[in-house]
Symmetry: C2
Subunit: 162 residues, 2 copies
């Protein structure tokens, strides 16, 4: 019995809403399987981590650079120590600080040319890992899954707006 | 434009497989929305955290108790410092250490009676939060989503076994 099945068994046996708990456990399991796979591949193929990849990915989307607080807000993976990761990438020459003219204490951080080149390689590999991870779905199943999760997202937004 | 839409725009514009990246971003977004909601509710209603809830939840499924390494392995949420959380819960009387007769250095940890009572309250509330979080889906959509994510999981298992 795998982890999800064991948890499901225990969580839903006294539950009034077993289907919802089952679905949530499966969502969590699937997301974690893929995330773990991505972490493993990043380490094996590039000797890097998901928070580092995530940070570079956010910078790649903002060529002008980002302030640290904006960068923190945009990270998809909670990483604990974003300043530490940014410092590390700066020391490796992949990221640089850009002083802001109007505030001597403030700065933007952005990818260097070397950082952009390295990220491009990682992004290409990452795309293929995701394609592999989702290979169990046909194109129409993939679209269906996207739509169904859109309903969850939509309902969340409505609940937040209410 | 929300975070997912913005990332999607940037990630898929030069992509050979935009649909797969889009789906992965949505899976990540939905899981994180629900997880964040659960974290907020745990804090507001019970003054506790997801790693604490997760740890108690694993213990509730093993009434005899678990060794620390087994407990770590079973946690659904990576928490960094499981020993610290276990010590904290022990100090609060929700968890206790049980010495093992055959190894003086080893012990099991398990819920106390107070811990079981508190966890029962939290588990009931948690179930309702998940029902609320998934309210955007009809019963048949919920089953469909469960089945589709089962295909992803199945394909992962086959890839690992190969």
């Amino acid at each position: 019995m795998d982890l999800e099945a064991r948890l499901e068994d225990a969580s839903t046996s006294h539950s009034a809403h077993p289907q919802e708990l089952r679905l949530w456990l499966r969502m969590l399991t699937c997301t974690q399987l893929i995330e773990k796979f991505v972490r493993t591949q990043l380490r094996k193929e590039f000797g890097t981590t998901l928070p580092r990849f995530d940070l570079m990915s956010q910078l790649e989307r903002s060529p002008v650079g980002l302030k640290m607080n904006e960068l923190s807000r945009r990270m998809m993976v909670t990483s604990g120590n974003i300043t530490g990761i940014a410092d590390q990438l700066t020391a490796e020459g992949l990221v640089e600080r850009v002083p802001l003219a109007d505030d001597r204490r403030a700065f933007l951080i952005r990818l260097t040319k070397a950082g952009r080149a390295q990220f491009a390689l990682m992004a290409k590999a990452h795309e293929q890992w995701i394609v592999d991870a989702l290979a169990g779905l046909s194109e129409s199943q993939s679209k269906q899954l996207h739509t169904l999760m859109g309903h969850i997202k939509q309902q969340f937004k409505q609940a937040q707006a209410a």
